[in-house]
Amino acid sequence: MTNTLASERAEQPPRSHLIIEPEGPSVFGLENVSFWYGRKQALGDISMKIPVKRVTALIGPSGCGKTTLLRCLNRMNDLIPGVRLEGSVNYHEHNIYAKDIDPVEVRRRIGMVFQKPNPFPKSIFENVAFGARVNGYKGDMRERVEKSLRQAALWDEVSDDLKKSGLALSGGQQQRLCIARALAVQPDVILMDEPCSALDPIATLKIEDLIRDLVKELTIVIVTHNMQQAARVSDYTAFMLAGVQGVGQLIEYGPTRELFTNPRDQRTEDYITGRFG
């Protein structure tokens, strides 16, 4: 109900108060990241650290830039003409936007799962094998495919017919196939862009369990418009909001349990309690 603009707020708490940096080692360190689509600025001055082997959720209303931020993390935004990024996105101390960095090398380590399940129109086996193959994997492909499918909790459902088209699977299975496809490259991080928005509640919960399982091995960053989902699966949550002229900003960031039981910023509280706008 109260959606006060930043400028109207008389006493803005200091930034550091709203950003609780996660403890332990981090996989990403963002420093003053701003991002433009052509002339339109989409992200403004975002700095945050993303912890290793944890689930970090990005939440916020539509148009707050959470997906844009996610796609900055593996240079997926490069594909869009006319984009520009300022600041640095450090991945294990390397700025992935430095001149000598190859985006293909970046994406090999930082996989991605998309909003709508997008398996290739090929067999289940080929779907999973593709990533390993293009990255020059020379070992036992069957073994790699099986391992990835098992990791994605899909093996038991598809093992007897790996030749079946990936498109013949149900929505939830397709999304897990996409996760298996990302895993086959053995990435360090998986970025998930609203991975359950096209799925029914049961399939959604399955993916969430899978996320909790995967995070023992790798780092996951998930964008979700479903706050409950962020609450359920993530260890850290970042709340974003489009500020003046629609520039996405990081409002509050900290351990999920704190953000959902005791948010420090009124706007965060309004959003997670459904009183926003």
């Binding site: 049961i202 919960l205 399955k206 399982d213 409950q228 609450a231 359920r232 349990r257 039981t261």
Partner: protein, 221 residues
Amino acid sequence: MTRITFERELSEIQEDMFAMANMVETAISRGIQALKNRDLELAQGIITDDLAINKKRYDTEEKCLEIMATQQPLAGDLRTLVSVLYITVDLERMGDHAEGIAKIAVMLGDEPSLKPYIDIPKMAEVSIEMLRGSLEAYRDRDTARARVIVNRDDEVDALYDKVYRDLLTLMINDPETIQRATYLIWAAHNLERIADRVTNICERVVYLVEGKIEDLNVSKY
């Protein structure tokens, strides 16, 4: 199975509650022991231990809220969490009553006992049985048992009346004993309150299983 994290958190928090019940049970039986044996050291120990019980209650509450905030429990899960919240409050208060008994043991110090303690330990025994039984009923989701346990509160109340009358007679006959007798009435009162709180736990068992909140023990006292 889905919602593995949630299931784990739910069972953890209930285990915490059972552990807390064990702590309370120990505190009550030790309190009576300290009272009986004039064991001041044991009594002091109970008073310190109560801090741990209180802390456990706050930890459990925080954990409950966290699960509610992050896992959106509904139906049976929601009733479980609400029950845990209420039961831990009751347990914490029982712990305070046990602490009260220990404090009385300290106040009585090594003054000679008025008479052999029979009814008060008996009250403690019944209360502890009720407490243990109520949590077993919770664990087994056994409402029939919960309803039976509730009725034992009358047993405790009857014992309390008897203790009260005996001590009153003592005080009338010999005003010398007034202070010590009053202390003992307080101790008995603490036990009576403990049994009352066990009935709350039994009500929570019924609520947990049947979803109804009802007053089980319409006491005759």
